[in-house]
Amino acid sequence: MNTLLMLFFSFSTLLQGNPDADEILERVDQNMSSKNRVVESTMIIHGRRGSRTITSRTYSVGDTKSFTEYLSPPREQGTKMLKLEEQLWIYSPDSDRTIQISGHMLRQSVMGSDLSYEDMMDDRKLQEVYNAEITGETSIEGRICYQLQLNAKVDDASYESRKLWIDKERYIPLKQELYAKGGQLLKRITLSEIERIEGRWFPMKMVYKDVLKEGEGTEFMVNSIRFNQDIPEYIFTKAALRR
């Protein structure tokens, strides 16, 4: 079956012509990025002493504005995060304080998960940040994938380089490896449960694993996602944090 699929895709590619690395990235960005989106998600953090489940709702506009409200568990409920450009504020209802996070703190884990604040905030198009090169083809879970090597072309990239395994048919990464400047592997992301939503392919489940941290990783599941909505502008203000 796999062989047949391989032959089919090879033939299709011959007919269409092979896309180059930039074209592949562009098609990935078309799937993964949008003008704006509203996402309700569940994050299951598998720590060394057990697992925790956190649910949240996030409004985001491009890669510049993002607002997240934690819905559960009770201890996190009402905690809000606002990102405007490169700045991030966190509001805690218990202390009634809005704290700005910057510098190296952005690389710290969010809620003890395998995601950093930077991971949560970084929604830039891959094409804007990286130069890409096709390094091969391989199969993941029966899907034929382009294997891409991405190297940062800007100074403020969260990760200096990435390896991406991109589904050749749907142009969605199925696996990512994120590397530091020295070439050290920092994180692995596995993307699955790809669904067709509003005319684009989107992964509904992502498993992040910070390889420098013990534990079983963090599952990030998209419960619902809506693209290109009318999001009121006041959502992206510091006043909205206290509402």
Partner: protein, 424 residues
């Protein structure tokens, strides 16, 4: 004979003065340096014990493996029961719970938004129980620069450097932003009761001290603690006793297969302090060896000069029929007496100097301010019972060795030529 030799030493100053001065100086330096090294290393170890290591420390095995990161997600759970057991099993020790935490200390503006913030290195200790000795143990009252000790829940002492940098006064509110032991975000507002400066960068950088109850509430650590420290009633580290307590505790409570089971480490097992203890002992040994060696050389030369000066005397004594062995023996006895007098004088001076520097420590605050090690800002020597005898080792040994070497010449005298030599 001893009386006869002693009279000779006292009456013939040229025979005794220089050796006594040399021995006294050497012994003085040996005694003083021993007191100084013991004092400085002792203070460093004591400071570590009070702030971080205890005389023994209990953590989970997983926490112990990463203890430099102070990973509260791997903290001990059910500590009230463990504390009860410890008090029952080791009633002659004092047990305290501690929580170390990191995070950000954030200063709000009038709108409740960030005006300034800096990384915080917090310590949570029991400051509000009437029977707690923690404040004195960590010298907190003596380190307060402005404001007061924590009097009630919700108060914090913060680094004086942080307070100056962000214009924070006692009575102002600051927010701790950290992580709970389960990884969630932790926010807690504190009223600054005072500012603090320990004089050591490691402790002062971003220092925040709060009562352990507040830390438990903020970090979701009810009935949990990062570490339990144990202190001996004697208030000093006793290596063998610590090893015995460790062995018995680990046998009873620790389980290698369970990374969250408690494990006890001694002070020596932590922060390379065993090496430091061994190093301090070897430094004293090296000091003694150097002074024995150096003084022996000087006293050998003094003995040779004395031998030349007393060439005639030895000749006459040999001519009168005294055995070479007997003359050599009296020379050694002389050395013992001179060495004893010199050691006595040197010990008295050395102990006096060590006592003075024990009572009047030397401040190295400016030098230790930027060091990453946990060093006291004042260095002092300490007068121990060892100082009263340690100087006699180089004092007697060097003097006897010096005279023994120079006295060998007695055996080279040719009896047949004595009268010819004495004519001259």
């Amino acid at each position: 004979m001893i009386k006869f030799i002693a009279k000779g030493i006292l009456r013939d100053k040229s025979r005794s003065l220089l050796p006594i001065v040399v021995v006294s100086l050497g012994v003085l330096l040996t005694v003083f340096l021993s007191g100084w090294v013991t004092g400085v290393f002792g203070d460093m170890i004591d400071m570590n014990a009070r702030f971080t290591t205890g005389h023994v420390k209990i953590m989970t095995r997983a926490y112990a493996a990463n203890q430099n990161q102070k990973p509260n997600d791997l903290a001990l759970l059910g500590t009230s029961e463990l504390m009860d057991n410890l008090k029952e099993d080791y009633p002659d020790m004092k047990w305290v719970e501690r929580i170390n935490f990191g995070g950000l200390l954030d200063v709000p503006d009038e709108k409740g938004e960030t005006r300034g913030q800096a990384p915080a290195a917090g310590q949570a200790v029991d400051l509000l129980s009437p029977e707690s000795e923690e404040a004195e143990r960590m010298n907190i009252p003596g380190s307060i620069i402005s404001g007061n000790m924590i009097q009630k829940r919700g108060e914090a002492l913060i680094s004086n450097e942080f307070a100056n940098r962000f214009n924070v006064e006692p009575g102002d509110e600051v927010t701790l932003f950290s992580s709970t032991m389960y990884g969630s975000m932790a926010f807690k507002n504190f009223i600054v009761s005072g500012t603090i400066r320990f004089g050591t960068t490691v402790l002062d950088r971003g220092a925040v001290i709060v009562d352990i109850r507040d830390a438990r509430e903020a970090l979701n650590m009810e009935d949990a603690a990062g570490e339990i420290l144990g202190y001996f009633q004697e208030d000093k580290y006793l290596q063998e006793k610590a090893a015995a307590v460790k062995a018995s505790f680990n046998r009873k409570y620790s389980n290698e297969a369970d990374e969250f089971s408690p494990v006890m480490l001694t002070l020596g097992d932590q922060e390379g302090l065993d090496e430091m203890l061994a190093y301090s002992e070897s430094v004293i040994g090296i000091v003694i060896f150097i002074f024995v060696f150096a003084m022996s050389l000087v006293l050998w030369n003094t003995g040779l000069l004395g031998g030349l000066r007393r060439y005639g005397e030895f000749g006459v004594r040999l001519a009168l029929g005294e055995e070479k062995k007997h003359i050599y023996k009296t020379l050694i006895y002389e050395a013992v007496i001179i060495g004893f007098i010199g050691s006595l004088l040197g010990t008295a001076l050395g102990v006096s100097l060590a006592w003075y520097l024990q009572e009047h420590p030397v401040s190295f605050g400016a030098m230790t301010d930027n060091l990453g090690m946990m060093l006291p800002s004042e260095f002092r020597s300490v007068v121990t019972s060892q100082l009263f005898y340690i100087g006699f080792i180089p004092g007697l040994f060097a003097m006897v060795l010096g005279n023994a070497l120079s006295g060998i010449g007695i055996y080279k005298r040719n009896t047949a030529r004595l009268f010819k030599e004495l004519e001259v």
